[in-house]
């Protein structure tokens, strides 16, 4: 019987066709169809996995990840504020035995007498500063929870000068023409064995220090004597020891761990 002959009701052809199927047939068809789609859909995550892992690499990770991490950085930039401070602690809680976690950049001997902090910026003569030069700036102390990218943390006590005070005093980090801030600060050890790049807002954060003391004593060699960076808004990897050179630029300075697969920003 065709639908036209069925005088009582006019059903669309498809529905009529379906009504001719027994319930068992319907179950069978719908099950097969659903599982066929399910199987096909399962290929999508497998394809995504394959695609990600076969992309060319950028800084040790698949290039799409590098892009995504940069997008995360932009998101982080939207809520970053110099008024967001890392929590601080009373002095008694600071570790006496401060953890040492890396020797990159410290593998050559250093003559503390000959050490100078070299500060370079475009259009200006380079500065060569001694520790005593820096000590003319007001001393700041911070007892905060140092956080390693590996996951451990430790409450530590550091003393030095604010990076913001330092750039203020020597009038650093501004473009020659417009006087606007450069985007980044680069730092490296005297031997160039370890180097970091830091976005300017993080460098100018009020808790960012050029530190020359730990637990009230001059820095020891394993902890970055004579001068190191303490930057609570970043993981430990950015807290460069034994600073040799500081420079400013709008291009991202090279970064030791960002070249080895880690996020460049690593902001906390």
């Amino acid at each position: 019987m065709t639908p036209e002959e069925n005088t009582g009701e006019r059903l669309p052809e498809r529905k009529t066709h379906r009504e001719e199927l027994t319930t068992d047939q319907q179950i069978r068809r719908r099950t097969l169809k659903a599982f066929a789609w399910f199987g096909l859909a399962a290929l999508v995550p497998a394809g995504i996995w394959k695609w990600i892992t076969t992309r060319p690499r950028a800084g040790g990770i698949p290039a799409p990840f590098r892009k995504a991490l940069q997008a995360n950085e932009a998101v982080a930039g939207s809520y970053f504020s110099p008024t967001h401070l890392a929590p601080t602690f009373p002095k008694e809680r600071a570790a006496r035995k401060v953890r040492v976690n890396g020797w990159d950049g410290l593998k050559t001997a250093l003559d503390p007498e000959a050490w100078r902090l070299q500060v370079e910026q475009p259009g200006k003569p380079a500065l060569q500063l001694t520790l005593d030069d820096l000590k003319t700036l007001p001393k700041q102390e911070i007892i905060f929870q140092f956080k390693c990218i590996e996951g451990w943390s430790q409450i530590q006590h550091w003393g030095g000068v604010r990076f913001a005070d330092f750039v203020e005093k020597y009038d650093l980090g501004r473009r020659p023409g417009s006087g606007e801030r450069f985007g980044y600060v680069g730092m490296k050890t005297p031997d160039g064995g370890y180097y970091v790049g830091i976005d300017m807002p993080s460098a100018l954060h009020p808790q960012t220090l050029l530190a020359y003391e730990m637990n009230g004593e001059p820095l020891t060699v394993p902890h970055g004597a004579p001068l190191r960076l303490i930057i609570p808004v970043k993981y430990g990897v950015k807290n460069l020891k034994r600073i040799g050179h500081i420079w400013f630029s709008d291009d991202r300075p090279r970064d030791f761990w960002a070249e080895r697969g880690y996020d460049y920003h690593v902001g906390l």
Binding site: R30, P64, H84, A86, I149, G151, G261
Partner: protein, 230 residues
Amino acid sequence: MKKLVYKHPPAIRWFHWINVPILFVMIWSGTLIYWAYDPYKIQIGDTVLIQFFPDSFYQFFRLRRRLAEGMAWHFVFMWLFMLNGLLYVLYTLIFGEWRYLVPNRHSFREAWQVTLHDLGLRKTAPPQVKYNGAQRIAYSAVILMGFGSLLTGLAIYKPTQFAGLTGLLGGYETARLEHFILTVGYVLFFFVHIAQVIRAGWNNFRGMVAGFEVQEDRSVVSPQPADPQP
């Protein structure tokens, strides 16, 4: 006579199955991160009951020395995990599915009866609409755990920018432990869930893929003569 009964709406099925690979990536990459600092264990006195994790575990699943890779996966797929979870919750709220999912005043008693039944200590299972009390509690709890993972995750991802949140969760180290415990929770959930799905059988599993269940239709008069009443 058999009939097809519509059980899970397509959206619910999509959210569920999309979550599977995403949660897998989050747990796997989380383990790559955890390896770099893995102090957690369960111990009574000096006896370590469970070590998270023995070296053989890392070795078997190839989880060692992959911190950077783990962080990259984790901080990309976190967005998908969050998005899928939020859309799921929004969907259940807007389309009323929450009514089947949120525990009600009967759920806890019912969950107990279901547990006794599943353990073979009670003959009958309580009647259920779509989900029984135990399911309501489990499925709602796992959503709350998802929120917990987002919050504890954010607290350890940006502990300075969200210092208030990190402090509220007990501090940086505590938030990391909480984040880990929630993940152990997912793994336990997964094993119980798989066991229950196997127990419940094909019809139930097909419901989550195809959307329908096959039921005996009692509203239609059976073609066979009814058995005489005793």
